[in-house]
């Protein structure tokens, strides 16, 4: 049988609002397959987002969902997890939401190692508001606010997450659809704060300004730049120039925040 996505989608919500060829839909499908593979229950799963095209994702999911304020998904999600540690909490959003206005929430969620999974759809731009540059826009790329080319270097989201203390960090692309569910499923199973960056495409506001003539060209670029971590081990620095590593990039065990906090409560109660 064809895969039944409908079982995790709110009835009557499709077609979604994303533009033709926008990778956010591919990521949502990967998330659904991951949830299905882990047999996750809708009523035990919270999906939390900020604002942006990517952040529209929870609206389609037939789960417990929160569409919050721009950049604040991590703060709301932390509240959910602290109140109900038994819930699966998944954050979703874009590069702008997560690394610009939400950058501070992002790094501290990583540092705190709270057991949640953050899926960040990096299309290198503020899609929703018409294509302003984001902290992930590459040097030289054009955005509505950098019509002569972006002078800044872009963030490497995965490295940022590792540096800030996330205990599981993976990267995939919208082109490599079969890998997305596996990375997300592994991230969800990891105990601690897990980050999955998906390199994505925004044909509407990024593609057309940066000389991609079609969605297919943008997909081909994702195909070309991605190098699986295992393959990269055998490559020289020269061969890796301009490439982006994909797969599980970082995985360590560290004390998880909800458990640590429960111990604080116990100590406080014992001290009374």
């Amino acid at each position: 049988m064809a895969f039944d996505y409908d079982k995790y989608i709110r009835p009557g919500k499709l077609p979604h609002i994303w533009c033709p060829g926008c990778g956010h839909g591919i990521v949502m499908k990967g998330l659904i397959r991951a949830m299905d593979s882990l047999n996750m229950k809708k009523e035990e799963t919270a999906i939390v987002s900020g604002i942006g095209c990517a952040s529209r994702l929870p609206g389609y999911m037939d789960c417990c969902t929160l569409h919050t304020a721009h950049g604040r998904a991590a703060a709301f999600a932390t509240g959910v997890k602290m109140a109900k540690p038994e819930m699966n909490v998944i954050l979703v959003g874009g590069d702008g939401d997560g690394t610009a206005i939400g950058g501070n929430h992002f790094i501290h969620a990583c540092r705190r190692n709270i057991d949640m999974t953050y899926i960040i759809m990096n299309n290198y731009i503020y899609g929703m508001t018409g294509g302003q540059f984001s902290p992930c826009t590459p040097t030289g790329a054009k955005a509505s606010t950098t019509p002569y080319g972006n002078p800044d270097p872009g963030f490497d989201i995965a490295k940022l997450a590792i540096g800030a203390g996330a205990t599981f960090v993976a990267r995939g692309t919208a082109y490599h659809a079969t890998q997305i569910d596996k990375l997300i499923a592994e991230a969800i199973q990891h105990k601690g704060f897990s980050v999955v960056e998906i390199l994505d495409d925004c044909p509407t506001t990024y593609g057309r300004r940066n000389k991609y003539r079609s969605v297919v060209e943008m997909m081909n670029r994702l195909k070309e730049v991605a190098v699986p971590v295992k393959a990269a081990e055998k490559m020289t620095a020269e061969q890796l120039e301009g490439k982006v590593l994909t797969g599980v990039l970082h995985k360590v065990e560290q004390p998880e925040y909800c458990e640590q906090y429960a111990k604080v409560l116990q100590r406080a109660q014992a001290a009374k």
Binding site: F3, H16, G21, C22, G25, T178, V215, V216, M219
Partner: protein
């Protein structure tokens, strides 16, 4: 023995005509017909599921 052909269902009201499925089908089973996709050569389908996996719009379903 005759091989069993897959069923490819296209949900036209969801398809946004992005060309992803057409372009990345390894055996060129699909084609654009106006703004939506259509099956051109079902016999060539190798049931790899790549079109279904990559469609951003939940618009194509392959039953092997």
């Amino acid at each position: 023995m005759e091989k069993k052909l897959p069923t490819i269902e296209i949900i036209e009201k969801y398809c946004k005509g992005c060309h992803i499925c057409v372009e990345f089908c390894p055996t060129k089973v699909l084609e654009m017909q106006g703004f939506v996709v259509a099956v051109k050569n079902l016999e060539a389908c190798i049931k790899c599921m790549q079109c279904e996996l990559r469609c951003p719009d939940f618009a194509i379903k392959v039953t092997p």
